[in-house]
Symmetry: C2
């Protein structure tokens, strides 16, 4: 029952006894064409299940209406691809992009070839690129920026960079987290995460600022470096307690997943949360409030962030210059910390 040879614009035009140019303009709702002609053709197209061949129109117009979204994973530990936060961002971006007439081509840094600008833009697969996460190395990203391709990155907006970065106020976020713990009478506060990573480094700064402001111990012993997965956090906390005992009473975690891993390690040792140890996460993933105790965390506004990213990208598609934008964060107080 499939059409032997598919209907083409020329065919549709013939059916309507107009030229292909008229048909093309009519379907694109070009006001050059008389309104009733437009409607007649649009109705005919619907009736015959016709839709324009995008390959052809992309070739002709040099516009794809596609945005490549690249999950910039740090390692090949495909753990991170399951981080609900990253995937949440993809979901939100999808919504916003569609709303603006763009489609989302999903990729990840492990798969895509090296030269992203080349692969996606000059090959005319996409009009612009959104990279989620700066990873540890930003050379790939800088190469895209240098090529002049429309680009927006989710990451640390404070890093001076040649490209537009949208991201949360990470420094403030962890500052708020640490301050909150301090107000809850914590004295020895752990930082749990990977300070080599741009965003995490900012979070580390905020954590230190709060501690210093309150004359607390900022010894390097209190900064535990670990991957941004719950498993890594679980292992790190478990082994550090085994080694040194419980020498801390608060944890500033760099993500909710990390916080949850730590939580599990503590609970397995019957350490009371929040009384023995208080924990603050980062992200506010959907599950944060379901945990027991529910997780105090720094909320990242992914919906707003997605809107801003798309906005800044569209700016560039229109030839304007885009800017980095800082998204506000918010402390969400729940049960994993003492409410002063």
């Amino acid at each position: 029952m499939t059409n032997e040879n598919k209907l083409t614009l020329a065919g549709l035009a013939k059916l309507a006894s107009v030229s292909t140019s008229t048909a093309s303009r009519a379907l694109n709702d070009n006001p050059l064409i008389k309104k009733e002609t437009r409607e007649r053709l649009q109705a005919l197209a619907k009736e015959h299940n016709f839709s324009l061949n995008r390959a052809a129109s992309r070739l002709r117009t040099k516009k794809t209406n596609v945005i490549a979204v690249i999950l910039n994973l740090t390692d090949s530990t495909d753990q991170s691809i399951s981080d609900p936060f990253l995937l949440k961002v993809v979901g939100d971006l999808n919504q916003v992009l569609n709303k603006n007439g763009y489609e989302l081509l999903l990729s990840n840094s492990l798969m895509a070839s090296e030269d992203w600008a080349n692969y996606f833009i000059s090959s005319s697969r996409a009009d612009g690129i959104i990279v989620i996460g700066q990873g540890k190395s930003t050379s790939n990203i800088e190469q895209v920026a240098a090529s002049g391709a429309p680009l927006v990155v989710w990451g640390d907006p404070n890093a001076s960079s040649s490209y537009a970065v949208v991201g949360s106020n990470n420094e403030l976020g962890s500052y708020l987290a640490a301050k909150h713990l301090i107000e809850g009478q914590c004295k020895n506060i752990l930082f749990l995460g990977d300070p080599e990573h741009a965003e995490m480094n900012e979070r580390h700064k905020g954590y230190r600022r709060a501690l210093i402001e309150h004359n607390l111990n900022t010894s390097s012993e209190l900064t535990l470096s670990c991957d941004i997965t719950s498993k890594a956090a679980y292992d790190t906390i478990s082994s550090v307690i085994l080694d040194k005992g419980l020498f801390f009473d608060g944890i500033v975690a760099t993500s909710d997943m990390v916080a949850l891993g730590a939580l599990k390690a503590l609970k397995e040792r019957y350490i009371g949360i929040p009384n023995d140890v208080s924990i603050v996460g980062f992200d506010d993933i959907a599950m944060a409030e379901l945990f027991h105790p529910s997780l105090t965390t720094i909320k990242q506004n992914t919906k707003l962030a997605s809107q801003v990213m798309v906005e800044q990208l569209i700016k560039q598609l229109e030839g304007q210059k885009a800017t980095s934008v800082v998204i506000d964060v918010e402390l969400i107080t729940r049960r994993s910390s003492r409410s002063n």
Copy 2:
């Protein structure tokens, strides 16, 4: 510094003093061309940062090498888009598709126009469609199938359908879940989920089979219908306890998110898990083991499932017929249930 007018295949050919046909074949590694010529051109292309214009080649070859993945969300409650399970499947699909030379165009049923086959396939945006979730109505999907477009659906593989469905053995999964609870001495086992939904309906059957096999109460009072979100589950359990007290000692939940919502409602009332009430989830999301108590659940093998889906889709792209495939499930025993 961006090239005034981009290099084209013809330009590259001229640089190499060959015809465009030779250049085209060389870049596509066609053995018709002498090996050293091929290598010379490929090197030249790399040197000049050249890549083939996909819009043009798609137009000519009528192949896009793109697969549209549609998240078939039930409602406009964009809650479900954040279900980590769905997004995990997207991530896995992305991996497998890329490995097979395809790209993933992400969409969701709320955004995409009505006629998917038309929108994606005849418009030459994609070569095939993968739908994640059958939703409550399958009319959209059936329309695609009727159009003859290459299609694979993640859903209930037992439903007799005109299209290839890949999915877990849902009936068996919930049977195992219920049986496990029964072996742990549960007598009044709740089913929590939405039996109108195809997959959930299978799970309901499995649940009933186990109960009947053991002569337990299958009264309809024990089947609670609720949306597949943690919030809905939380509300449902909370209000049912308020209404009728604790008349159950086990819960078969239709997803981990649902299980976690229920867990929270119970814990807030200081109901002991697993001793007062045991819970089994479904999916085995990454967080399942992080909870306290860690969640006993039925694991869905999304990695394998993704491979099978892509396999079945490629079959169709090659003109063969695809078949529905049932993916094995596995009971993962943790602490939210008594180990008999």
